[in-house]
Symmetry: C2
Subunit: 179 residues, 2 copies
DNA sequence: GTTCGCATGTAAAGAGTTACATGATTGT
DNA sequence: ACAATCATGTAACTCTTTACATGCGAAC
């Protein structure tokens, strides 16, 4: 079975959610996957084109009232199979996540403590903002989307974000003290 | 002030640690930064070349006994300044870390529970292995490098890795239960 | 008429990995 | 001879972002 990149699989997956056009896919990502997956239009449209070439999806032109025409993509049987195969494969290996703050902290060891503290406090602040963003989204889901079929999975991914962010904040506190 | 990419800054930083050649830089990364920063030779050598062109570093050929010749790089005043400027700048924004497991879990909502469980258990296993790796490195530092000037900072970065990994493991457990 | 949201797309630049090529020196 | 380690480098490829270009329809 031919291999595709993760962006292709992501778009294949999104096409199962009744998102049909490039524009809609972008919106879906920005609304639902934003905290662990981003894709730009520069990837979306070329990938959609490729999906059709590879016969993983078909195109249908659709005209709408009060809005410009758009192209709707539908998974083919082959497309569904390719997606399923990918879903069944576990992670090959954990990716290394680059962390600019850790890098700076490391090289800041001959710098002033003040500098490192500033770095860490700023990082902590950004993490706290992120945490609050997660909480806000979570509340929104609980209030308005509780019976949406995706709600459960949104909450899983948000929970991941919250837990990891919380751990990072705790590390900031501990490191600020230990400096 | 001209901007460079993070790889350039990372190498600039490593050059302050008495690593002088491309080969040595690669070793340093693999030994010390491996869990939050990776660079391949395909980046290192072209970047070093560029450092000299930009007058951020100078080259000195060095012959060694019993080993092939090598090129030693030394930061110029300009190089030190560029590094310092970068170190002083806080994160522009938190990067989005792609997470393939979350993506699959999300799209697996119409898949079988068995499939999602398999995915999560495998992920948890990999995280636990990583955690143990961190603990092993930590012990090694405590035993052999306790008075190395970098030891404190190695431990900070390891602590970060451990905390975040631990949080991810806890999420796996919680999500496996909630599925 | 202009701004906003919807909609599709491409070109160029930048970032990064992988695979390959080369060669010195040491030890077996 | 040979493998291992030390050492430097490049070319091709893949992936991603950014900036730009275009145009429809609605509302003000």
């Amino acid at each position: 079975m031919q291999k595709y990149n993760d962006t292709t699989y992501a778009i294949l997956g999104i096409l199962t959610t009744n998102c049909r056009s490039g524009y809609e896919i972008k919106q879906f990502i920005d609304n639902s996957l934003n905290h662990f997956w981003k894709i730009s239009y520069g990837q979306i449209y070329p990938t959609l084109k490729k999906l059709e070439q590879e016969e993983l999806a078909t195109i249908q032109a659709a005209s709408q009232e009060g809005k410009p025409d758009r192209k709707e993509y539908f998974l083919t049987e082959k497309g569904k199979e390719v997606l399923k195969d990918w879903l069944e494969q576990p992670l090959k290996q954990l990716p290394v996540e680059r962390n600019e703050v850790l890098l700076k902290l490391f090289f800041g060891r001959h710098q002033t403590k003040k500098q490192s503290l500033y770095l860490l406090k700023d990082y902590k602040q950004k993490l706290e903002n992120l945490y609050q963003t997660y909480e806000g989204i979570e509340e929104g889901i609980a209030r308005y989307n509780n019976n949406h079929s995706d709600a459960k999975y949104w909450l899983f991914t948000l929970d991941y974000g919250k837990r990891v962010t919380e751990a990072a904040i705790a590390w900031c506190d501990a490191t600020i003290k230990a400096l």
